[in-house]
């Protein structure tokens, strides 16, 4: 295996992307309960809004944030010919993702445990 920042970013992007796809279909199923009536919908939704699921949501947030920022990085490189800045952009994405995940994730947890 040949590693470099580019390779790591690609691996993380793949993993996060696939995780998001998995989540997407689960999400569709959860929301899809609306087709079976109000009660079913609210039950299913309550089930996924317990504190445990909130932790899971933070992980999800990390995945989305990283994937999206990395996607932005790629788009920037594509359209503005920034291959020379690939490394600094990679580190920028990592740092930004960490910050957003901590702040955003913290907010989710605070909201979850204080009840908003």
């Amino acid at each position: 295996m040949y590693t470099s920042t580019g390779f790591i970013s690609w691996l993380l992007r793949r993993i996060s992307g696939l995780a998001l796809v998995l989540y997407l279909f689960m999400h569709l199923w959860v929301i899809g309960a609306a087709n079976s009536g109000v009660q079913v919908f609210n039950d299913r939704l309550n089930a996924v809004q317990t504190p445990l699921f909130k932790l899971f949501e933070v992980a999800l947030l990390a995945a989305v944030v990283y994937h999206a920022l990395d996607g932005i990085r790629l788009l920037l490189i594509h359209y503005f010919d920034l291959t020379e800045y690939r490394k600094s952009l990679f580190w920028a994405v990592i740092i930004l993702s960490a910050i957003i995940t901590i702040v955003g994730g913290g907010a989710i947890l605070v909201i979850a445990f204080t009840g908003g």
């Binding site: 997407l24 899809g32 609210n42 996607g71």
Partner: protein, 107 residues
């Protein structure tokens, strides 16, 4: 090339929709989501259009991405026509199902 392009366009669309979605679903009160909350929001047509477009772009993006991941393997690459059709069908089915769900909130 088509997959590649779909992936980028849908990514740009997602940047908009996903950001809206994340902020409104998770960081704007009420924080506990229930049928009524969703129905209240979806009663405005703008929201309905946004959600449908969001659904469409995320499905395209997700399936184009998955297709790319799978066909990167040489063994799957040889069946890429079939895989492409499968992806298209999944996108259509999921879209119909999702759109139906969004419609369901009109009740």
């Amino acid at each position: 090339m088509l997959t590649f392009k779909l992936q980028r366009w849908s990514a740009i669309a997602l940047l908009v929709f996903l950001t809206i979605h994340m902020i409104f679903m998770h960081y704007v009160p009420p924080f506990h989501i229930s049928f009524d909350v969703v129905q209240a929001r979806l009663s405005t047509p703008t929201w309905k259009i946004i959600d449908i477009l969001f659904l469409f772009s995320v499905l395209v993006h997700a399936m184009a991405g998955s297709y790319q991941v799978i066909t990167d393997f040489e063994s799957a690459f040889n069946y890429r026509k079939a895989l492409a059709w499968a992806s298209v069908i999944i996108v259509i089915l999921a879209f119909v199902y999702g759109a139906k769900t969004i419609w369901a909130f009109q009740l």
